[in-house]
């Protein structure tokens, strides 16, 4: 199950003067039912890699399989049933007269009845926190920025994918909109059991969200592991053009003045907990 990638390389515009190698020899496996973050500096190949997961790009060399289906031009339909893909700024893909119609577009193409499609679209709206009664029959272009994005996400969720690939889903939103989207990701994973692959360069967000972190550096696999290991390794992160989460920076700086303070926290909650424990330990002595 899940996504298996072996020896994947990808070159843009092969055999032209604009030829550009984007990914080199990647081999890894994304575990089922978890949230895996793909991180890296701008231009590290994150988005290129994400587009391989549902066959929008085909590897130049190497193979990739999704739920044991090899991704080839013949299995595209099957793969896209399994993998929902949410691009950066998905609100730009809205087009239909009403929000409900737009959301139902994908499943209607699968040949189910319009009534069933509408019901599923309403459910998807509720899932992303939009009220079908008040927003369902409005034009998608009348919604606010955050609402548009959630409507676009509903348009992918309506197809009930088992794997959801999201490219910077919170980019360009205000802090509240950001929070809502990240909470939604968590809810989809925990309640619906959807395997989530999320492309991001926000270490803070991913510290809170991800079960695994994969770091790309100039198209190469730089690191792959648990957030506790990845997000506390300053040197490795900096090599890849990323920074430590603020919580880790705080703890590592505090540890210089407070000997014995553990520096392995990488989320705000983790840091608070570690500090309380440290204080408790000191007063007990």
């Amino acid at each position: 199950m899940s996504i298996k990638v072996s020896n994947l390389s990808y070159t843009y515009q092969q055999d032209t003067p604009f030829q550009k190698e984007a990914l080199y020899d990647l081999t890894f496996e994304i575990p089922d039912g978890q949230i895996t973050a793909i991180m890296g500096h701008t231009g590290s190949g994150k988005s290129t890699l994400a587009q391989h997961f549902n066959g929008l790009l085909m590897p130049s060399t190497g193979t990739i399989s999704v739920n044991d289906i090899p991704v080839t031009s013949k299995t595209l339909k099957q793969v896209r049933y399994q993998v929902g893909m949410i691009f950066q700024y998905p609100e730009y893909q809205l087009f239909d007269e009403t929000v409900l119609k737009d959301i139902a577009y994908g499943i209607l193409l699968r040949g189910i009845s319009p009534e069933e499609a509408e019901n599923k679209a309403k459910e998807a709206m509720k899932l992303v926190g939009l009220d079908p009664e008040t927003h369902g029959n409005r034009s998608p272009f009348d919604l606010s920025g955050g609402q548009k994005r959630r409507a676009a996400i509903a348009g992918v969720l309506v197809m009930e994918p088992s794997i959801l690939v999201m490219d910077e889903p919170a980019a360009g939103l205000d802090p509240e909109g950001r929070r809502e989207i990240l909470n939604l990701v968590q809810k989809l994973n925990k309640e619906k059991g959807i395997t989530v692959v999320i492309v991001s360069h926000s270490v803070e967000d991913m510290a809170e969200l991800a079960d695994n972190i994969l770091i790309l550096n100039r198209g190469r696999l730089h690191a792959f592991g648990k957030p506790a290991d990845i997000l506390t390794d300053k040197e490795s992160l900096e090599q890849a053009g990323l920074e430590l989460p603020v919580a880790t920076i705080l703890m590592q700086n505090l540890a210089k003045r407070l000997p014995g303070l553990p520096t392995n926290a990488f989320t705000v909650e983790g840091a608070v907990e570690a500090l309380i424990q440290y204080k408790g330990g000191q007063t007990n002595e």
């Binding site: 032209t16 893909q93 699968r110």
Partner: protein, 266 residues
């Protein structure tokens, strides 16, 4: 969409890249005219020599220049076949059923093919070595005198510049929306004509909405920087003829002279 070579700028630092766009424009127009004025074997050989020299100095590479021919290959083959069958001059080479091929037909067809190929390669070389922006800049400067007869040269050039400027982002956006809708199961390759046309709505509509948004934003940005048309406007990068242009002009004059002599005496 990855294989568009015609009309694409190939970055470089050759003599042709550095030359003034006006020189290149005039050179290309002159070359095109000469191809049709002097289309005998000697004239075509002269033009071919000029093209070969230009392509090698441009360092764009023959592969790309030849690839630009691919787009018009069908047109060339079609015209060539028609010519071959219709022209009846000189001695008959083949006479079979309705098909009659004559020596005159073969010569005319060959000349036509060579001329068209030279034409396309010459024009692509212009776009390979000149950025669209400097090309419109050149056009604007060249046509400036038309201002006197109330032709809004600056406005037209600005529109061209903006249109060219927006080709790459719009292409990118088209690609992105196509991919997004394809991920949702969109299919534009099967079904009847109406089904296919309808299949394009999910791409076309967001594109149009996006284009209007961009246009609005650009208009605001230009007004915020006090853009008010061409009157009294100076240029940041002023076009200037340099040594390179002198060389090219000399070569061009020699070429034109050779072509005219070829036309008169051969």
């Amino acid at each position: 969409m990855n294989n568009i070579t015609i009309g694409q700028y190939i970055p470089g630092n050759s003599i042709l890249h550095r030359a003034d766009p006006r020189t290149k424009l005039i050179a290309t127009i002159l070359y095109m005219v000469m191809l049709f004025v002097s289309d005998g074997p000697v004239g075509l050989a002269c033009s071919a020599a000029l093209l070969i020299a230009a392509v090698s100095t441009s360092k764009v590479g023959w592969k790309l220049v030849l690839r630009s021919l691919k787009t018009i290959l069908i047109v060339v083959i079609f015209t060539a076949v028609i010519n071959l069958l219709v022209i009846k001059e000189g001695t008959v080479l083949v006479n079979f059923w309705l098909i009659t091929i004559t020596t005159g037909g073969v010569f005319t067809t060959l000349r036509l093919i060579v001329r068209l190929f030279l034409l396309i390669m010459g024009v692509s070389l212009l776009t390979f070595t000149t950025t669209p922006i400097s090309l419109t800049d050149g056009i604007e400067t060249m046509f400036k005198p038309l201002n006197k007869i109330k032709v809004p040269v600056h406005d037209i050039a600005m529109m061209m510049t903006i249109a060219i400027r927006f080709v790459p982002p719009l292409m990118e956006e088209a690609g992105r929306i196509t991919r997004a809708q394809a991920s949702r199961g969109a299919d534009y390759t099967s079904g009847g004509l109406m089904a296919r046309v309808k299949g394009f709505f999910p791409i076309l509509l967001p594109m149009i909405v996006g284009a209007f948004t961009r246009a609005d934003q650009l208009a605001d940005a230009m007004e915020a920087r006090c853009y008010r048309g061409g009157e009294g406007r100076t240029k940041f990068n002023k076009l200037a003829f340099t040594k390179v242009d002198v060389y090219l002009t000399v070569i061009l004059c020699l070429y034109t002279l050779a072509m005219i002599l070829a036309k008169i005496f051969l």
